[in-house]
């Protein structure tokens, strides 16, 4: 399937993970490991970055907006950055840099050490065993990470906003939710789910196209990160434009 190129490979993987339950006897452990590595072990990094960004938006934005008498716009800015645009991009970029490269390296090394051949010889499909659970795991993990990011980013923003103006928690969140459009959540979820799908497909594809030599692994990694980044930009810009068309602003 690899020999036919990225699109047939992706179609095959997607059809395989739709029927994931058929292969769960061999694939479930890989799915759990992927969610643990991408969705749980990256938690510290994501929480730190989310709180810093939430705090920075308030530190930089609030005094400026307050100076022109538009302090309430800070909720709008928090939503557009943390929930809709910057937040999903940062989370996906962290996952591309951390888990995408790990997938390419791991699968590339498995090709070189004949582990993929061994799976084939046992009648275990490398797509069902290695790729489909990683793709599914990556999508689940990105949704999880994005939830942490939103929670921590907004909480970080709230903590810092108290330094400028004491606002009760209930008021802060009531105003924030008042500014939130349901499409913000939908666009955020579609962005991270699609990004997870593409990052994992691109990383897996490049890992499995390693031929024989260990020196190909870093080369494939560079290609995977480059193409992953392009696909992230296209997904995020495309969906932001769609949001603007649907909601305006």
């Amino acid at each position: 399937m690899i020999a036919y190129g990225f699109l047939p490979f992706s179609a095959y993987v997607i059809s395989d993970f739709i029927f994931f339950h058929r292969n769960r006897s061999i694939s479930f452990d890989v799915l759990v490991r992927q969610v643990r590595f991408t969705g749980v072990e990256a938690l510290g990094l994501v929480v730190l970055i989310a709180m810093l960004i939430g705090a920075l938006i308030i530190v930089q934005g609030y005094p400026l907006l307050a100076a022109i008498g538009q302090g309430n716009w800070i909720y709008d800015i928090l939503i557009s950055t943390i929930v809709r645009d910057l937040g999903p991009f940062i989370v996906c970029f962290i996952v591309l840099a951390r888990s995408g490269t790990a997938i390419t390296t791991e699968l590339g090394n498995m090709v070189v050490s004949k582990e993929i051949d061994a799976l084939i010889s046992m009648g275990v499909s490398p797509i069902s065993y290695l790729v489909a659970p990683r793709v599914l795991g990556m999508v689940i993990s990105l949704v999880l990470l994005m939830s942490y990011f939103v929670a921590c980013g907004i909480f970080g923003g709230y903590l810092v906003s108290n330094a400028f103006q004491s606002i009760p928690v209930s008021t802060f969140f009531a105003r924030l939710i008042g500014e939130l459009h349901w499409l913000d959540i939908v666009i955020m979820l579609v962005k991270v789910a699609l990004s997870g799908l593409f990052i994992s497909l691109i990383s897996s594809y490049h890992g499995l196209t390693v031929n024989r030599a260990i020196t190909e692994v870093p080369q494939r990694n560079i290609k995977a990160v480059g193409r992953g980044l392009i696909s992230l930009c296209l997904i995020h810009v495309g969906l932001t434009l769609l949001y603007i068309v649907l909601v305006g602003n």
Binding site: I26, K114, D117, M122, G123
Partner: protein, 221 residues
């Protein structure tokens, strides 16, 4: 299991390695593939274990071409073919037990976990690997990894075994044990295809020897 290679022609990067190669091995017989380094032994191993398909020609299992098998028949073929790699081919991020569990989970979904674990412990004992079951396979020595690769191949009691460079990594004492084991398997009707230049393998086990040269020709042993 009768295995027949019919008109196998295969090129690697425009260099023809096999040209119209024909060979056959029946149940309880052993075919040894030998020849100098780079002559295509490992390539033949990959074709015999159906990891790569030849450019032309086909492999027949009990007179049925592998290419023509339906999914169920192919799965059965995979279950009945034990493949042992020169570099063990164990999955490095799994423990030895998880490695051995993989083919059982693939082919015996209905068997209970304790039963599978008992089967694993039993074969691990046979190769003195029972204390390493919880270890990741990258922590095993190359000899132990080779034995573990053999254990994994024999776990499903295959009707045929294909082995690339048998005993290349195994010490003398274990080599003797493995030779006796292969001889025993052969007597029980298991088909063997071994890619090796080792004298003791050829002398003790080979019924047919296929000597690969620059382009394939073969001689009966």
């Amino acid at each position: 299991m009768n295995i027949e290679f019919k008109g196998i022609t295969h090129a690697v990067k425009n260099r023809e390695v096999f040209c119209d190669l024909n060979a056959q091995v029946s149940s309880g017989q052993c075919l040894v593939i030998s020849g100098r380094s780079g002559c295509g032994k490992t390539l033949f191993f990959s074709i015999a274990s159906d990891i790569i398909r030849p450019d032309k020609g086909q492999m027949l299992i009990d007179s049925v071409a592998v290419n023509d098998m339906n999914a169920q028949k192919y799965s059965e073929f995979r279950r009945n073919l034990g493949v042992v790699f020169q570099l063990s081919g164990l999955i490095s991020n799994l423990t030895l037990e998880e490695n051995l569990m993989l083919p059982l989970n693939r082919h015996y979904k209905d068997v209970s976990k304790p039963e599978k674990q008992e089967r694993i412990r039993s074969i691990a004992r046979e190769f003195a690997l029972e204390h390493y079951l919880a270890q990741r396979t990258e922590q095993l020595s190359s000899g132990q990894a080779s034995l573990a690769g053999l254990a994994r191949a024999l776990l499903l009691k295959p009707k045929a075994v294909v082995w690339d460079a048998p005993m290349a990594e195994i010490d003398e004492q274990w080599s003797q044990y493995v030779l006796d084991l292969l001889l025993c398997l052969k007597q029980q009707g298991t088909t063997l295809i071994l890619c090796s230049n080792r004298k003791e393998v050829i002398e003790k086990l080979a019924d047919t020897q296929l000597e690969l040269n620059s382009k394939v020709c073969f001689s009966e042993h």
